[in-house]
Amino acid sequence: MEKIFKKVSGKIGFEYLYVLPALAYMLFFVGYPIVSNFILSFHEVSVLTLNSPDKEFIGISNYITLFKDAVLLRSIWNTVLYTVLCILFQFVIGFALALFFNKHFCTSKSVRGFLMIPLMIPITVTALIFKFMFSSNVGIINQLLQTLNLIDAPVEWLIQPGTAMFALIFTNIWIGIPFNMILISTGLTTIPVQLYESADIDGANSFERFLYITLPMLKPAIQSVLILGFIYTFKVFDLVYVMTNGGPVDTTQMLSTYSYKLSFSLFKYSHGAAVANILFVILFAVSLLYLKYAPIGEENSK
């Protein structure tokens, strides 16, 4: 095996050989959908012409129509608001928990393990659980708040424009905390213990150790957690689809759910594709920024 490998890698450069399988896989299966979606958004199609070459090219008029429509702007705003708030809270809480469980005490390992459970539940099931907990007449959240005398009457969480968004963000934070916690935790394990030991000798206090050792050493881990978290949160679908389906009255309509609705319940495929493309372009811009400022994987490369 090794011999064959050596022989082949000698010819095309082993760096490429390692990357190629994964790259080819992704380009083959996802590259085509991205390109076809892009093309679709500049055409006028019906379900029958969706897969045929004779589509009518109409330039950017799909985009113009969409931007005149208040729902698109609202979905962009909703998606941004949702993403920023989710990331902010789940990152901070997840980070804090990672630091907390990095200390050595009897239950540190086992409890951290149990906190992973929210991640294991299929998102659709999580959405169902929280839909139940937030429901106005039987929901435990209302009952809890009423018992604590924090509210007088049941709040209609998923039915009122403002609170529905809150409920979605709350649920997503619950899913996101272990995601952040576990990735930061594993990042913490790669920090050599000696660094802390020598800092102790230098008389650094715990805050200084955090600021000058933990944070810089974790920088790559933090960067990838944030960018991946951003991408996954920004294209949220299942959660919203099950909990509110964009309602009430589009107040939790996200770019992804709006694109879905346009394509699959209103049969406006080109509009659906254009909305997905807007989502894509926003994420693309953010990733370019990220790549510019985060020299990914360059610390030790030759």
Binding site: A24, S136, I159, V249, T251, S265, F267
Partner: protein, 408 residues
Amino acid sequence: MSMKKNLIYSVIFVLILFAAAGCSKTDGQKDGIKNVTIWYYWETEKHQKTLNKIISDFNESQTQIVVKAEYIPFAEFKKQLSIGTSAAKLPDIVIIDNPDHASYSAMGIFADITEKMKDWTDLNQYFEGPLNSCKLDGKLYGIPFGSNCLALYYNEDMMKAANASVPQSWDELRAVSKKLTKGSVKGLGFSSLPNEEGTFNFLTWVWSTGTSAFGINNPEGIKSLAYVSDLVKDGSVPKEAINWTQGDVMHQFISGNLAMMINGPWQIPTMRQEAPKLNWNVALIPKDKQYASDLGGENFGVVNGQNVDASLEFIKFACEPDRIKTYINDFGYIASRKDVAETQFAEDDKIMKLFAEEMQYALPRGPHAKWPEISNAISLAFNEVMTGVSSPADAAKKAQKTIDSIIK
């Protein structure tokens, strides 16, 4: 290091992957035997069993055609159908919600069966409303499966306890709903989802005022929006209804959380099974200017493909009057054929008789090629007033603008 070589390697890799994945099933057909696939979305066991019975009867009746049915959840139905269309991977028959029929016909998914069914004299037996939902521009694209409509269900015990009588007008309905609302029990509920299911329920209010589904921004349309908005403001209709399917509404009703509901007859088999002791009855939906209900039901749509003839064989078999009688009651539907409907219900079946009466006031939605978009505008307007986002006048204006841009 050349790119060319890289390309070759990646192609080889992908090929290996497929080889590994390979051995996929082919869609081959045995000589002479035609396979016909049906898609449907009924989720209750009773409906599924009844449909399978029709199919197995058909399969046993002849040797040329084998029919099988695949269940696609309602929430997935449109998606699966449009993806299947673009990939040319469709079933042969689709049992479809009747307001959607026209838009699929317009897309070219369904075959024009006008010529082929010309000699099928049974066609004269069909009621106009259901048959029209299968037509577009005078051409026939399907055959009605069965019909239903909405009526008012009420909990007799609650009605008695509140000393109320069955409402007949909008004013009475509003008053009675208010009277029946106590603690966790709400007076009235109907599915108010922002989709076709919601529109199905909302249109009864719209039509009762005398206006049409295409003209919302007029005193009548606004009145219907204002009426629903008032019911919610009174607390008689729970706001949560905007998240309820008709199945949810039925479950709320049999759990005793709703004193009255608007719903269809297909719920009755499940209601009797799950809540045999519940004391309930039905009445015509109270009217404003005129009685109105919504024509619901499914049609057989024949997909434009190679199996049109075989599919029609099955449909003709399933639509024989004597056969319809064997299954239509199990579905909780009203036959779309006059000859069957006349004798469908036993004299003492007061509940289904009421639905048959309500059927006279039931109007079809559309048919319009872009009905889904019109429907979306209507259900959105009602959702806006129910959640208090817009006033009835504003919601009507907005909906009308959308509708006008569609029908031009």
